[in-house]
Symmetry: C2
Subunit: 345 residues, 2 copies
DNA sequence: TTGTACGCGTTATCAT
DNA sequence: ATGATAACGCGTACAA
């Protein structure tokens, strides 16, 4: 198979490489006829420009990257689409990259900045676990969006952050359950070991709520999902709830720190003959589409992700263009009261 | 911010660029002390090699790409992980790229082949809608996996294909429903217009089954999801089922060509006061994790995706290394009989 | 073991 | 309007 380069096309057309380049990149200074002929030859021989060479040469790319931590997370799909839309408006291209839990997002960001000549980065999800020094190595502005809490000792002038207060929203949910008369509230929590993880923050919110209402914390109702399982899988919620039930500890409500966990748990309750919400109230966190379609539909916390995604992108563009400084914005989430919870009679 | 290149590092260390290159790429011919010093300088100045330059230079990358059509599709997450595992075993790196419905996967493949010096491609999902001529432009071997039917007129020696027979498996499901005594079977179908789409194939299977059992096809029970909605969303299933119910046509079973649609439809039935499976049997297709956790759990068709993913990767590697020729393998799916379907009394 | 110099494919600058 | 040529940052043959 013949893989022509720009030189081959130039030779084929009897023109110089710069003319071909002009044809490809829609430069003005070119004779329409020449252009036509070149484009035709390109078509004929199946010439595809080499992006590596382009990126190497090009000073300026009008591109940003979105780095998503934890794929298999449907939660972000929406946000990414919205961010992509904002990019299109600004005539920016968007590089999307999914990272495994063990990959270092800042390292990846550095690579991409060089490789793609990026002008900015959006970090989506995950936990923040980098030193200030490391962060300083990033040569373009970046915005964290929906990532776990960022340590206080990192200078706020270095980055932007868009989030909800996970701890506060989690407390809101537990307050709601307490308001319904529940006092024996079990919690299903994942990844709570790590300092600034989502799981940990949501667990803290649970503690806050109980403390505020003078309810003693019962460690037997704090259920950690097994490390061996896929972190936020339904199966993980299912198995953990099974264990809770087997333990025999009484509870009238079960709050899972993710909708997926809650749905798995609801199944375990069903199999144990406990009817939701008659016997047990169940609630989740995230507000995924699914939560509205299971039966009974799931009471949950929903972040305003559309707005957050939009604002994330806009903020980044404003910082790139120098219109604004770094911002740290905390959004209010919403408690969606649905069928899976109800007051104790 | 200072962005050092390999030259800067070389100068800083008082060595030549090739020595730095050797240090980076673990070449044997280098003095351990020199290497140590270089690596230290690299660390200190935060040098990150430019991947574009690397790719440009490198003849050979030991890399493949996986092109996924339709993100927001949790279905593939599993497969990708397995493929990634196989890549690691072979010491290949894997480039992952998600495409929107309107993007051309073959064009993208061509770009990536040049940019990343790929040795092979895996196409995951989507519909096949390319000419043989276009396919021939790809200079590396490729395997289709779980994509819709590929037109007969394309030479089989050009590509590999790993799939299940969607039409046959769909028929299997409808046969099963008929076996339970159902004769008024509604179907929820998406994307059925396009010739070789998944939706179309599954609809054909439905027709096949009815025909085999001499059940007359009732067009009012064939429900197409609206074009305006997100193709396989639960909401789409929900709305379409609502419309079916509003139409007043009688049915005792509802088969949706995707689990997500089925779950949305189940919700609509619930809200209409029709109990599943007592009043209506519901079944889906795909076998996503969720199907096992909703209540009642969903009867569905499950492709052996783990095995398919593994075999897809292995086949590609074997073709790359010349061990095997292109293959066309059809896997058998499995009908998972669960709580959402039952015999007519 | 190390350094020099060339070329990968492209774009941009400068002549023409 | 067009062509020659110098970068871009890196890997590698070849020379030392």
């Amino acid at each position: 198979m013949f893989e022509p380069t720009i030189k081959d096309i130039a030779k084929l057309c009897g023109v110089g490489v710069s003319t071909v380049s002009r044809a490809i990149n829609n430069h003005p200074d070119i004779n329409p006829e020449t252009k036509e002929k070149i484009l035709q030859t390109i078509e004929e021989y199946g010439y595809v420009p080499n992006n590596s060479a382009r990126n190497l040469k090009r000073a300026d790319a009008k591109a940003i990257a979105v780095l998503v931590k934890g794929m298999s997370n449907l939660f972000f799909a929406n946000m990414i689409e919205i961010i992509e839309g904002e990019c299109k408006k600004k005539h920016y291209s968007m590089e999307l990259s999914y990272l495994e839990a063990d990959e270092d997002e800042v390292d990846m960001a550095q690579k991409l900045i060089k490789e793609k000549r990026l002008r900015g980065i959006i970090f989506l999800g995950g936990i923040f676990s980098h030193s200030e020094e490391k962060l300083k190595k990033l040569s373009v502005p970046f915005v964290f969006s929906t990532v776990g809490a960022i340590p206080e000792n990192i200078s706020k002038s270095l980055y932007s952050n868009i989030c909800v207060d996970d701890r506060r929203e989690s407390k809101r949910m537990v307050d709601y359950l307490i308001g319904l008369g529940h006092r024996k509230i079990a919690i299903l929590v994942a990844e709570a070991e790590e300092e600034h993880s989502i799981g940990r923050l949501r667990l803290e919110g649970y503690y806050d709520a109980l403390r505020d209402s003078d309810i003693e914390i019962n460690p037997r109702l704090v259920c950690h999902t097994s490390q061996k399982m896929i972190p936020f899988s339904m199966n993980s919620g299912y198995m953990t709830a099974k264990k809770l039930l087997a333990g025999g500890e009484e509870f009238t409500a079960l709050y899972a720190v993710a909708d997926t966990l809650a749905i798995g748990a609801a199944r375990a309750l069903y199999e144990a003959g406990r009817i939701v919400p008659r016997d047990v109230s169940v609630s989740g966190y995230d507000g995924i589409e699914l939560a509205n379609y299971v039966t009974p539909s799931l009471t949950t916390i929903r972040q305003p992700i559309e707005r957050m995604a939009r604002d994330t992108a806009r903020l980044l563009f404003d910082i790139i263009s120098g219109k604004r400084q770094h911002q740290h914005i905390v959004y209010e989430a919403e408690l969606l009261e649905r069928e899976s919870t109800r007051a104790i009679v």
